[in-house]
């Protein structure tokens, strides 16, 4: 009797373990491999691989992660930067990413991209996925998911992504098997390098709007960002990247200026700022939306100087461990650059 019971117990345990393993492998297999696909979805997760000793954290969308080169910030100013960027990152997602980051480290300065203030609703499931999947599980992630889900999404599908990607069996490639458990990083401290030139031409003016006021929800999360930085003693910089399009209305600029003054934070608008020294006939790869690597290096140089002069951010170049790490990164950066140029010329 006892023996039979034990046998039964073992049988059930083994069965459950096998099913769980099977599900786990299937899930790893079915999940999209961002590093060989849409790379914009890979960076949020890559942050956790870098040592949390950054004195500058930048949070935002492609206006950050395609426009700023952390290597220049390190080499020229000794600023150890990480960009926590993701495609179409919404302001409440920026907030929860900030929460997540502050759980790992407390940087001197946080730059938050405020161009997302124009969106009061989640834009697309795909963007949600790219921003949220890479976050490690925490209350911040749970809250971020609930704040971001479109009507068609469900929380369960974030907990068990297999439920979301179950039908990918039809598109599986060799990469899906190869990269099941490990993917190579695609970014350099969160920077996604772009090469090539497409001059900015014929950029349309903004379509006149009936109402320029940012949404309540945007302000609500901006307040939360401000408060969280104050609480942690972090200097907050609200920044609009140098991208020329989508159009940044003067009315929006005014609102941000007012907000910054009222809350005693810094607001830096980099659109059409001459001192940066950008030339949009050569420094952009997509007609003014984002910068190419040359543009990003120019902009980063400006940003580093600005941070030193206006915020007084520290120079960490004397830290030998960091120096060593950045030396390796610099090699990878150069290698990537030449690889990208080679791809471009092919």
């Amino acid at each position: 009797m006892k023996n039979r019971k034990r046998k039964r117990f073992v049988r059930i345990t083994v069965s459950v373990v096998i099913i769980c393993l099977l599900l786990f492998f299937l899930q790893r297999l079915m999940m999209p491999k961002y590093s060989v696909g849409t790379q914009d979805g890979a960076m949020i997760a890559e942050y956790y691989d870098d040592e949390p000793k950054h004195n500058l954290i930048i949070i935002g969308d492609s206006e950050m992660y395609e426009n700023i080169s952390p290597l220049v910030l390190w080499q020229n100013y000794g600023i150890n930067t990480y960009i926590r960027g993701s495609a179409q990152q919404l302001i409440w997602q920026s907030y929860y990413i900030l929460e997540d980051t502050l759980r790992h480290e407390t940087p001197e300065v946080v730059i938050v991209n405020i161009s997302s203030m124009q969106y009061s609703e989640p834009q697309k499931e795909t963007y949600n996925r790219m921003t949220l999947e890479g976050l490690r599980w925490s209350t911040s992630k749970v809250k971020a998911i609930y704040a971001s889900m479109t009507e068609e999404e469900s929380f369960m599908e974030y907990v068990f992504p297999l439920l979301r990607y179950h039908s990918r069996w039809n598109d599986l490639s060799a990469d899906d098997f190869r990269l099941m458990f490990h993917e190579e990083p695609v970014s350099l401290n969160g920077y996604m390098m772009q090469v090539g030139v497409k001059p900015a031409e014929n950029i349309p003016d903004g379509i006149p709007l009936a109402d320029y006021t940012f949404g309540d929800i945007d302000y609500e999360y901006l307040d939360k960002i401000t408060a969280l930085c104050k609480e942690h003693g972090v200097e907050l910089v609200l920044m609009k990247g140098p991208s020329l399009y989508p159009y940044w209305y003067e009315e929006w600029d005014e609102q941000m200026k007012d907000y910054a003054a009222e809350h005693n934070v810094v607001y830096l608008n980099c659109v059409n700022k001459e001192e940066i020294g950008l030339d949009f006939s050569t420094d952009t790869f997509d007609g003014g939306l984002h910068l190419n690597v040359e543009g990003a290096e120019i902009y980063s140089d400006y940003l580093g100087e600005w941070l030193q002069d206006n915020i007084g951010i520290s120079d960490l170049s004397s830290d030998s461990a960091l120096s060593r790490a950045w030396k390796t990164k610099a090699d990878a950066y150069e290698a990537k650059k030449s690889e990208k140029y080679k791809e471009l010329s092919d």
């Binding site: 099977l22 068609e152 369960m156 179950h166 039908s167 039809n170």
Partner: protein, 528 residues
């Protein structure tokens, strides 16, 4: 809450745990609370409908039962009464019971009619007004309370059974409320009778793993039918039926086939989930489908498809009409005036007509369903009339019992029912007729092999999955003829069982048409 939803799994798990942990005498109360919680998910305001139906039928049945008891007591005490007096007394009390019963019946059917048929009535009134050139009436926005047709019919069967004296009235209103609202059968049936599930609902149940796993297996099979087959094939079906100008002729034939598969997989899959969920709690719900596509005639088909609805109409419409006084008089009259053959049939024809009209109307508030019901009626009556002819044919050519002939009959029934079912798919009766006619006139048979079927929203992979799913359904049905498939699997070694059920689970998980990218399709029978 849909059966195909994450919240339903969570809900089921919670109810399961509480059900088997709580002292057994409270088990049915757990189910009652769970059922009302389940109903709440559809919108708390609809609770009033189901509560009203429950309360009125329960109270009325109780009153009828009291009258019956009082009558028995009275007759017991007054044994000295003459036969005449007794009869007079019985008639008087019976009349009272009947009035009570009718009042409750009309009230509940009235509610059903108002929420379900108001807009249909308005559209018809508008059509007449339109002919007369007047101002059309506005439509009302009434949302159907979840499963109203199903629970109303369940409650009414109970009421009529009590009135007929076949079952005693339930004294405890909460127990009765559970019968009406039991959540597995709330959305789409089966339309069980009180006598069928009473013991299942109220007998204390010990946790029986075999029963629970059988229940889960039955549910899994239902999910496979619904999610892998029905929800996948429906994409192609809606593409075709959505554009009546482009998809004619051979496409309509494909639609006939697709819709047959989709409706069966969707509806019977839903019932598998319902019956499986019931089984988890030790409640055996009546079967609603017995391999309907294996039927050799339409009459047989209707004994195997949506069985609980068919038997409801037989018991509560066909039978009472056939034996009511005017009908008996008519029968007597026709037998003397029209001869014994026709005379005998006239009443059957009339009663059947009523049944099929009601069946059509029950299925939906539109003329399509009325015509659909009556077309079924027509086909059944004609084949009944031709019965002697068939028999002679069968004898002459010696086809009875031959496999090929049976296959022919099954195919014929499948096609005939398939064509009739197309009333569901088009927006009007005339469109349906026109579309069916194009099968014979369009002559576009080349679409069957020239790749056109890859343009209706289904890929080659979809077709493979659908075909494999249909094959699996077929094999399971074949095996079912000689007994429960789950019992057969249960008799196999553990490793075989484990592999089989895990494979089915993984198949549903991977090949189910659910989640983003697939429109969440609700069960076809939800709104009935």
């Amino acid at each position: 809450m849909q059966f195909v939803s994450y919240s339903f799994f969570l809900f089921l798990a919670i109810v399961f745990v509480v059900y088997y942990l709580i002292p057994k005498r409270f088990q049915w109360m757990v189910l009652l609370v769970a059922s009302y919680v389940f109903y709440c998910f559809a919108g708390p305001k609809y609770l009033i409908y189901i509560a009203a139906t429950t309360f009125t039928t329960w109270l009325t049945a109780l009153q009828i039962d009291k009258l019956k008891a009082a009558q028995a007591d009275y007759l017991q005490e007054n044994k000295s009464l003459s036969r005449e007096e007794k009869k007079l007394y019985k008639t008087a009390t019976k009349k009272k019971q009947r009035h009570l019963m009718l009042a409750a019946l009309l009230l509940n059917l009235g509610i059903l009619a108002v929420v379900k048929y108001t807009n249909f009535a308005i559209s018809n009134i508008n059509a007449m007004i339109g002919l007369a050139g007047g101002q059309p009436l506005g439509y009302v926005s009434l949302v159907l309370p979840l499963g109203i047709s199903f629970y109303t019919f369940r409650a009414l069967s109970y009421l009529i059974d009590v009135y007929r004296g076949t079952i005693p009235a339930e004294k405890n209103g909460f127990r009765f409320a559970l019968f009406v609202s039991f959540f597995p059968q709330l959305i789409q049936g089966p339309i069980s009778r009180y006598s069928q599930i009473e013991s299942g609902l109220f007998t204390p149940h010990r946790l029986n793993w075999k029963q629970v796993s059988f229940g889960l297996q039955r549910m899994l099979w239902g999910y496979m039918k619904k999610m892998v087959i029905a929800d996948r094939i429906v994409v192609g079906l809606t593409t075709m039926t959505g554009d009546t100008a482009a998809y004619t002729g051979a496409y309509v034939l494909i639609e006939v086939f697709f819709y047959a598969i989709q409706l069966y997989a969707d509806f019977s899959g839903g019932l598998d989930m319902a019956i499986g969920a019931g089984q988890i709690f030790g409640v055996d719900l009546p079967e609603n489908f017995v391999r309907p596509f294996f039927s050799t005639s339409i009459k047989e088909y209707w004994n195997r498809w949506h069985i609980t609805m068919g038997s409801w109409f037989t018991d509560y419409i066909f039978y009472p009409i056939s034996v009511c006084k005017p009908m008996l008089n008519l029968s007597k009259w026709s037998r003397t005036h029209l001869g014994p053959v026709l005379g005998k049939r006239l009443t059957v024809y009339l009663s059947s007509f009523a049944v099929w009209l009601a069946t059509g109307v029950w299925h939906g508030a539109s003329w399509n369903f009325v015509f659909w019901g009556l077309s079924n009626y027509l086909v059944i009556m004609i084949s009944q009339e031709l019965e002697p002819l068939y028999r002679r044919f069968h004898q002459r050519f010696d086809v009875d019992g031959k496999l090929y002939f049976k296959i022919f009959q099954v195919g014929r029934t499948f096609l005939l029912m398939g064509f009739l079912r197309m009333y569901d798919c088009f927006d009007s009766v005339t469109t349906t007729w026109k579309m069916l006619l194009t099968v014979f006139t369009a002559g576009n048979w080349n679409i069957l092999w020239n790749g056109s079927l890859m343009q209706i929203g289904l890929t080659a992979a979809d077709y493979i999955i659908i075909a494999a799913g249909i094959l699996l359904m077929f094999l399971v049905s074949m095996s079912q003829r000689s007994g429960s498939v789950r019992e057969k699997i249960h008799a196999k070694p553990y490793i075989v069982r484990f592999v089989l059920w895990t494979a089915l689970f993984m198949a549903v998980l991977l090949f189910g048409a659910y989640g983003i990218g697939y429109d969440a399709t609700s069960f076809i029978y939800n709104q009935f």
